[in-house]
Symmetry: C2
Subunit: 361 residues, 2 copies
Amino acid sequence: MSRAWNFSAGPAALAEAVLKRAQAEMLDWNGSGASVMELSHRGKRFMELAAATERRLRRLLDIPSNYKVLFLQGGATQHFAQIPMNLAPEGGTADYIVTGIFSKKAASEAAFHVDARVAATSESTDFLTLPPRPAWRLNPQASYVHYTPNETIRGLEFHEIPDVGDVPLVADMSSNILGAPLDVSRFGMIYAGAQKNIGPSGLVLMIVRDDLLARPPRPIAKILRYAEQAANDSMLNTPNTWGWYLAGLTFEWIEQEGGLAAMAERNARKSAMVYDTIDGSNGFYRNDVERAARSRMNASFVLHDGALDSMFLAESEAAGFIGLKGHKAVGGMRASLYNAVSPAAVEALVQFMRDFAARHG
Amino acid sequence: MSRAWNFSAGPAALAEAVLKRAQAEMLDWNGSGASVMELSHRGKRFMELAAATERRLRRLLDIPSNYKVLFLQGGATQHFAQIPMNLAPEGGTADYIVTGIFSKKAASEAAFHVDARVAATSESTDFLTLPPRPAWRLNPQASYVHYTPNETIRGLEFHEIPDVGDVPLVADMSSNILGAPLDVSRFGMIYAGAQKNIGPSGLVLMIVRDDLLARPPRPIAKILRYAEQAANDSMLNTPNTWGWYLAGLTFEWIEQEGGLAAMAERNARKSAMVYDTIDGSNGFYRNDVERAARSRMNASFVLHDGALDSMFLAESEAAGFIGLKGHKAVGGMRASLYNAVSPAAVEALVQFMRDFAARHG
């Protein structure tokens, strides 16, 4: 069996140790005589898994006790719609910071359910920069401020948590959660689709402060209310048990690897390798994102001659790399460098990039 | 490794052949050098998997061309809420046939989004019967009629598709889809949580007639609109790729086993074995569901002396059976007999039941 060097943006590489464990336990998990997928979520074994997984996440992120942890479904996109239903009253307003395609989509989906105001945007720079904090026009009456700490398509990342005063800060951390230590207490709500740094697609992790769950509910079905899910330990209906299980294995793997500080150090090193290769290529490769906001999770680059794109992709694939094609909205290349992407994979990538440039430069 | 005899109600047993295939392909699916979970849903390989999976389902169920097939998230419960948002106008009405805890919940969740009228209910018999069709008070102006062909908790099943005239019939088939051949053309919409007869939890299969997708949309986010999902081949956002993959493996397994006619024959045989054992136990075991509506998927039973329940569960577990405890709402026992539960497992169960009765009768 040969494993590819996987730089997919999401669904993305999982830790090989996690996959091997899932493989070994596929027909008989935890002595149950069944796969974890074949067992009731309300049975003793799965309930213990769920509780242990939450404890592990709380340890990793040092989550304060006044925050609930939820394991939901629907992808982050569904929560673009559900968040305003839960956090804002009908006719209420919310502020959106738009720094890329995902935060723009978050605002446009929310707009069906709240007066979603764009308080700041970097669309005029084609999302290659972050709008400077002093230029944000925040509304102190907003129900919340929403932003996307890492935009995967360009690879544009906030390296500081913005101060938005007393209005709760809501963050779509799909593509950078668990990539580094985080001060959860700065947020009202953090949510993340699992398929980048947590596990398989089809699972959404949510960390939400108690007072936001106490906001008066709109007349929406119970299944759409976060407070109901919190009161039912994310089991108002059958959860994605496989996703929850793999998230637990991933959290365990992160702990074994040294926790979030170790991840942050590794991710900084990995992304520096790629950016150094780009910047040292004498213009063969280029990344136009504002230096201070380059993402540690997604390094995008274009080739000096777009005609080489298809050759880069074909040769990289032949050399055992997958997932390097940039998002269709921007083209070019993108190397996603999530936790499960090993330094060895990045070593191989930058070596390939240098060789390719030497051959075609 | 020893596999248990798994009678769980859901998440439920998967075919062992499916699990073994998933196990073998865990680190390298389809020559990709990655798990299917680690690949983009928009990549060529996964797109082919998605298309092949849909084709296989269309063959199995002989789905007419004017029906779309969707692979969604959220569990059936989320769609209790989403169906009225999509099929009824604001201020519209819909009829609900209430024959158990799930259809009752479907109506109560829908009631936040439509005038959900109970057109018939068997709650007065504690859901042990089906309300006779002539007593249904259907509203010809309703946007749809919703029913639950199989109620898993009691094990109460419609063995005929009810005629509801020109109003579209909507069915939550979570617990009996693919258990037998089906005339899809009788329905406006069929939906099913995957975790009983399709695959792991976290996936919802939906089969919906084109004209229902053309109903004018409410002002809800795009991600909540079925028409948008249909227009985007269920990839408006990242789908549950692992669930989709396992559904495909399960459809393939069903075809290899002889298709839905073979499943129906096997399920009839399996359920007859359990009901015959109950009925032939001289009252040691009892099933109080109306004979004509006994479920082929979930056979519930109580012991003549409730004090024996815990002993039955402990001894059955020691003998290698799991998932036999009845739903907390009704107590007693329940053997779920979905497609993946082998006749050999049912043989073992009825033998255990007879032995237990002999020892404690």
